[in-house]
C-alpha cells in the first residue's frame, strides 16, 4: 500500500520536474539563438561588411518584419508540398516494409535493391519533374515523396528485422499470430530506426520541395530565394532564409519532443545525447 501511495505522489512530481526541465532546455535554446543573432550583428558591424555581401541581423530582421506575411504565405506552399510528399513517401515506405517483411523471398530480392536506391541522390531529377509536370505543386510533392521513400523503407525493414530472436521465439511459443508478432513486437523494435529515418526525411523533403521551386514555381520560399538572389537583394534573401531557419528549428523541436515521448524506453533517448 505504502509503495503504491508513494508512486501516486511521485507521478505528478515527475511530470512537473520533467516539464521544468523541458522549459529550461527550451529557454537555453532560445537564449543561445538570441546570442547567435547578437554575435551576427556585432561581427557584421565590427568588420564593416557591406550589405550586399552580408547584411546585419538588424537589417535582416527589419526586412523580415516588412515581408513577414508574404513570406509566411510563400513558406506555407513549400511546407505543404514537403509535408504531403513526406506523408506519401514515408507512408508507402512503412506499408511496403511491413508487406516485404511478410515474404522472405520478396524481402531477399527487393531489400538489396532498396538499399541501392536509397543511395541515389533523387534530388537531381527535380528539374526533370518540373519539365514533365509543370510549375505547379505536383513535381515538388513527387520529389519530396521519392526522396523520403527509400530511407524510410530501408530503415523500417532493418528495424523490423532487428527484433530480438528470443522474443520472437517466445511469442511463437505462446501461440501468437503473425499479426500479433508484427504489431506487438516487430513494430516496436522498428520504431527507433524509423524515427532516425524520419528525422532525416523531414529535412530532405524540404530540400526536395525547394529544389523543385528553384526550377520553376508560382509560389514557395524557394521561388522567393531564387528571385532575391537574381536581384542580388541580399537583405531579402537573408530574411527568407532566417524565416525558413526559424520554422525549421520549431519543426526540429517538435519532432524531437515526439521522439522523446515515443521512444522514452530506448537508449538513444535515455543517454541524453543530442538528437
Amino acid at each position: 500500500m505504502a509503495s503504491a501511495g508513494t508512486q501516486v505522489a511521485a507521478g505528478p512530481m515527475k511530470l512537473i520536474l520533467g516539464a521544468l526541465r523541458a522549459v529550461q532546455n527550451l529557454l537555453g535554446l532560445v537564449g543561445g539563438l538570441i546570442a547567435l543573432l547578437i554575435l551576427w550583428e556585432v561581427l557584421v558591424r565590427v568588420t564593416e561588411t557591406p550589405t550586399f555581401i552580408f547584411p546585419s541581423a538588424s537589417q535582416t530582421i527589419e526586412r523580415l518584419q516588412e515581408q513577414i506575411w508574404s513570406y509566411l504565405y510563400e513558406i506555407s506552399w513549400t511546407f505543404a508540398a514537403a509535408g504531403i510528399g513526406l506523408v506519401i513517401g514515408s507512408g508507402v515506405g512503412i506499408i511496403g516494409a511491413v508487406l516485404m517483411a511478410q515474404w522472405r523471398v520478396v524481402e531477399k530480392s527487393l531489400f538489396p535493391l532498396a538499399v541501392f536506391l536509397k543511395l541515389v541522390p533523387f534530388i537531381a531529377i527535380a528539374p526533370l519533374l518540373v519539365v514533365w509536370i509543370g510549375y505547379n505543386l505536383w513535381p515538388k510533392i513527387i520529389i519530396a515523396a521519392l526522396i523520403t521513400f527509400f530511407p524510410v523503407l530501408v530503415n523500417a525493414i532493418a528495424g523490423l528485422r532487428a527484433a530480438d530472436p528470443l522474443a520472437v521465439e517466445f511469442f511463437q511459443s505462446v501461440g501468437a499470430s503473425k499479426v500479433e508478432i508484427m504489431t506487438r513486437l516487430r513494430w516496436h523494435s522498428s520504431l527507433p530506426y524509423l524515427y532516425a529515418a524520419l528525422k532525416l526525411a523531414v529535412n530532405l523533403s524540404l530540400v526536395g520541395a525547394i529544389a523543385g521551386e528553384y526550377y520553376g514555381a508560382e509560389h514557395g520560399i524557394g521561388k522567393v530565394i531564387e528571385e532575391t538572389a537574381l536581384r542580388l537583394d541580399m537583405r531579402g534573401m537573408f530574411a527568407a532564409i532566417l524565416m525558413l531557419a526559424a520554422v525549421g528549428v520549431t519543426l526540429t523541436l517538435i519532432t524531437n519532443a515526439i521522439e522523446r515521448r515515443a521512444l522514452y524506453w530506448h537508449e538513444s533517448v535515455r543517454s541524453g545525447a543530442p538528437q
Partner: protein
C-alpha cells in the same frame, strides 16, 4: 565452394529482380511506344552511358564540360572535399561538446539552426560569395554531412562502459590514456556508422550545390539534360551518381571491416 554457393544464394535474388524490372520496363516502353523524352528505354539509357564514357567525350576542363566521366569526376571531388570538411568539423566539435556540457549547451543552438535549415536554401548565398567554384558545393556538402558525425561522436565518447572507466582509473590511467584507449576506441563503431551515412549525404550535398549554380558536375549535367528533354542522358547521369554512392559506401564498409574486426557488428557477419 560453400562460400561461392552462399554468395550466389545471397546475391542472385536481387540481381534477378533488377533484371526483371529492367526487362519489364524495356518491353513496356517498346510496346506502349513511349516517346524517348518521357520515358527512355533502359537500352537507350545504357547507350548514353557508354557514349558518355567514350574517350572522345573526355575533354580538357577549359572547354564546355560534356561527357559523364568528366562531370562525375567534378562531382566526386566536390563531394570528397565537403565530406573531409564535414567529418573534420563533426569530429572536432563532437569531441569538444562531449568533453564539456557547458560548451555543448553553447554550441548546440548553432548546430540545431544549421541542421534545421534546408541546405539548399543557404546554397545561393555561397554561390554569390564564392562564384561558380568548387567552394559552394563543398560547403553545402559539409553542412549536410557534419551533423550525423557530430551526434555519433558525442554518443560514442559518452557511452563508454562505466566499469571499464573505473578500471582505467584504478590502474592510474592518465586522462590522455583514457581518451585514446577508451573513448576513441569506443567511438570508432559510431564513427563508421556516421561515415557510411555521410558518404551518400555528401553526394546529395554536392548535387544540391550544383543544381543551384554551377558550370560542371553531374547535377548540372542532369539539370541541363532535363531542361533540353534529353531524358535518357538525365537517367544515365543519375545511374552514374548511384554507382558512385554505392562504391563510396562499400569502400567505407570495407575499411570498417578491417578496422573494427573486433566489434560485434563485424563478427556477426561471419
Amino acid at each position: 565452394m560453400t562460400g561461392i554457393r552462399r554468395f550466389a544464394g545471397e546475391a542472385s535474388p536481387p540481381f534477378l529482380a533488377a533484371a526483371a524490372i529492367i526487362a519489364f520496363s524495356e518491353i513496356f516502353v517498346k510496346v506502349t511506344n513511349q516517346p524517348a523524352y518521357i520515358l527512355p528505354a533502359p537500352s537507350a539509357v545504357f547507350k548514353r552511358l557508354v557514349d558518355g564514357f567514350a574517350p572522345s567525350t573526355v575533354i580538357p576542363s577549359d572547354a564546355l564540360p560534356i561527357g559523364l566521366a568528366y562531370n562525375a569526376q567534378v562531382t566526386l571531388i566536390e563531394a570528397l572535399l565537403g565530406l573531409a570538411m564535414g567529418v573534420t568539423l563533426g569530429v572536432v566539435l563532437g569531441v569538444i561538446m562531449a568533453h564539456s556540457r557547458r560548451i555543448e549547451r553553447l554550441v548546440y543552438p548553432i548546430v540545431v539552426t544549421i541542421r534545421s535549415t534546408p541546405n539548399i536554401a543557404i546554397a545561393p548565398v555561397f554561390i554569390i560569395w564564392f562564384g561558380f567554384t568548387i567552394m559552394p558545393k563543398a560547403i553545402v556538402a559539409m553542412l549536410t554531412t557534419f551533423y550525423p558525425m557530430l551526434v555519433n561522436c558525442i554518443t560514442g565518447m559518452r557511452s563508454v562502459d562505466a566499469q571499464t572507466l573505473e578500471f582505467f582509473r584504478t590502474v592510474n590511467a592518465s586522462p590522455r590514456e583514457i581518451f585514446i584507449h577508451l573513448r576513441v576506441h569506443n567511438t570508432l563503431p559510431y564513427f563508421f556508422a556516421a561515415l557510411r551515412l555521410s558518404v551518400s549525404l555528401s553526394l546529395i550535398g554536392a548535387v544540391v550545390g550544383e543544381l543551384v549554380g554551377s558550370r560542371a558536375g553531374l547535377g548540372r549535367l542532369i539539370a541541363q539534360a532535363s531542361i533540353n528533354l534529353r531524358t535518357d542522358e538525365a537517367f544515365a547521369g543519375i545511374l552514374v551518381l548511384a554507382v558512385m554512392g554505392i562504391a563510396m559506401t562499400e569502400l567505407v564498409s570495407l575499411v570498417q571491416g578491417r578496422v573494427l574486426f573486433w566489434h560485434e557488428s563485424q563478427r556477426a557477419k561471419t
